[in-house]
């Protein structure tokens, strides 16, 4: 598979903060990427630089093999609706959709109309007067119906209720199946989007801490919960990603996979084994040391170990 986005040693520094710190990535064609991380981790900055709406302090970005800045051939294949996207004064949603349709040759009007109905989007009011959720819905309609070769979603669900969010996830998967393309979905609601993602990139304070296939991540760790002594005994010699203790009960996230004989052994001592969700894994491996009490005496694992872990998982 060919990389359509290549990022090498990308750093973005503002006067007082570093938004991106030596980020290197390669994104393949036709996959759904999750760009995950806490607020301020650098997700929006990264997407802005990829779409030439912001500029790198150092490092290199290539989209379809070329520098995207002022490159009509590249930019015309991208769509990036921001979380706080601005629209022309007094424009109504249908006017914005019609305008977007001029820019994208593959525009899917049927999908746009269907989404308008499902989001119950008002069509006669200026976008400026819509609610937060409706504003998000306008952005989703444009980004989905555009069918651009690379589509960036920046926290697209802000203000949407659970039903509307599900509509977004369902239509995204449906339309992606019908017309495969590269989608980058930035989110901090990890569990909600976990099932959509084929590949996960986690940013933390401007650095890439995880860059791995979603399946590899799911199989790369497990969780055991039970009597503190029994758990501690089992954990000996294993890499502990996260440890939480409540009274006599300890929960640890362990690196690797659990064997059948281990399961039997654990069951005998009353310890439960559970798979680790994407969210648990990310929180376990990307959590910060200064968030103190979430951690047991072992302390947090180094980020390097989390990356190592995923890489090992990927090599299986």
């Amino acid at each position: 598979m060919t990389s359509i986005i290549e990022v090498k040693h990308l750093t973005k520094r503002y006067r007082t903060a570093t938004a991106l710190d030596d980020v290197s990535l390669a994104l393949d064609e036709g996959k759904i990427y999750g760009l995950l991380g806490r607020n301020g981790a650098g997700k929006t900055t990264l997407m802005s630089i990829l779409t030439a709406q912001n500029f790198a302090t150092s490092g290199r970005v290539r989209v379809f093999g070329e520098d995207p800045y002022e490159n009509a051939g590249v930019l015309g294949r991208l769509c990036f609706v921001r979380e706080n996207q601005k629209y022309p004064e007094r424009a109504t949603p249908p006017q914005a959709f019609r305008t977007a349709s001029y820019f994208y040759p593959n525009w899917n009007q049927r999908l746009a109309e269907r989404l308008v109905e499902e989001f119950q989007l008002p069509t006669d009011r200026p976008i400026q007067r819509l609610s937060r959720g409706q504003l998000s819905a306008v952005g989703i309609v444009i980004a989905l119906a555009a069918r651009a070769d690379v589509t960036f979603f920046d926290e697209p669900y802000l203000g949407l209720d659970a039903v509307a969010r599900q509509v977004f996830y369902d239509r995204l998967i449906e339309d992606y199946a019908e017309s495969p393309r590269t989608i980058v979905l930035s989110s901090h609601l990890i569990d909600e989007v976990a099932n959509l993602l084929e590949h996960v990139i986690v940013l933390d304070r401007g650095r890439v801490v995880i860059d791995a296939a979603a399946d590899d991540i799911r199989g790369s760790a497990f969780n055991i919960v039970g009597d503190a002594t029994a758990v501690a005994a089992f954990a000996v010699g294993k890499q502990v990603l996260r440890k939480q203790t409540l009274g006599n009960v300890t929960s640890v996230v362990l690196k690797g996979q659990v064997s059948e004989s281990d399961k039997v052994r654990l069951a005998r001592s009353g310890v439960e084994v559970a798979p680790v969700s994407l969210q648990q894994f990310i929180v376990s491996s990307a959590a910060q040391p200064d968030k103190g009490d979430a951690w047991g005496t072992d302390g947090p694992p180094a980020k390097v170990e989390a990356r190592q872990l995923v890489r090992n998982g990927g090599a299986r």
């Binding site: 802005s48 500029f55 996207q85 820019f103 994208y104």
Partner: protein
């Protein structure tokens, strides 16, 4: 070319700002000017220059919105800054020309009716110009100037922030004031006035057009590095 026309269509989504609001202001200002002409007990020719300028100010707002609202949308849709700039200026030129044409028609009517029967004029530029071409050019250039002042200052604001914009504007005001004071101090005001009159309406329009070009170029250089 399609990419540029797409930007024009994007800008004209906003027909209300580009077309309807200036026309409404023009209509309102015209009615007001006529009412005042009727009330003024003076039979000689009366000019209402401010009334004529009113709809042109609407272009200032349009220029601001073109950059603060439409530019981010064009970026979301993958337009280059260059295409956005060209398409936006063409839209402004097109609507300014339309407005100037309407003025021209009004100016001609004004002349034909001897100032609406009350010897009052608001669409005919005062200088040497009841010549139709001069009237058209003056209104076109003025509308473009207002548009570009809004567009350029918004570009400076978005790129460098309010402090820089205010510094630039205050700096310009000080420079102009100092220049005027120097002219007065060295008794050159008379010469300047004569020079202005010598230029005639069309000559001044040409100077205005030069300013339009300078503002358009510096707006482009500014918006090339605006970040979202």
């Amino acid at each position: 070319m399609t990419r540029v026309t797409n930007v024009m269509r994007l800008q004209l989504m906003n027909r209300q700002s580009y077309v309807i609001v200036p026309l409404l202001v023009l209509g309102g200002a015209a009615l007001l000017a006529l009412a005042i002409f009727l009330l003024v007990p003076y039979d000689g020719p009366k000019y209402a220059v401010m009334a004529a300028a009113a709809p042109l100010w609407a272009f200032l707002v349009v220029g601001v919105q073109a950059l603060t609202m439409s530019f981010p949308f064009s970026q979301a849709l993958g337009a280059t800054r260059r295409d956005f700039h060209i398409g936006t200026l063409l839209t402004a030129a097109l609507t300014a020309a339309m407005l100037a044409l309407i003025y021209l028609v009004i100016a001609l009517l004004e002349k034909a009716t001897n100032g609406w029967g009350v010897n009052g004029y608001f669409a005919t530029p005062g200088l040497d110009g009841d010549a139709p071409l001069a009237a058209f050019a003056s209104y076109f250039v003025l509308a473009m100037l207002w548009f570009l002042i809004g567009y350029w200052s918004s570009a400076v604001l978005k790129r460098w922030g309010l402090v820089v914009l205010l510094n630039v504007l205050v700096g310009l005001a000080i420079a102009l004031t100092v220049a005027a004071l120097l002219l007065v101090r060295f008794g050159a005001m008379q010469a300047v006035a004569e020079w202005v009159v010598a230029q005639g309406a069309l000559g001044l329009d040409a100077w205005g057009l030069l300013l339009v070009v300078v503002l358009a170029a510096s707006s482009y250089l500014t918006l090339r590095r605006i970040t979202q």
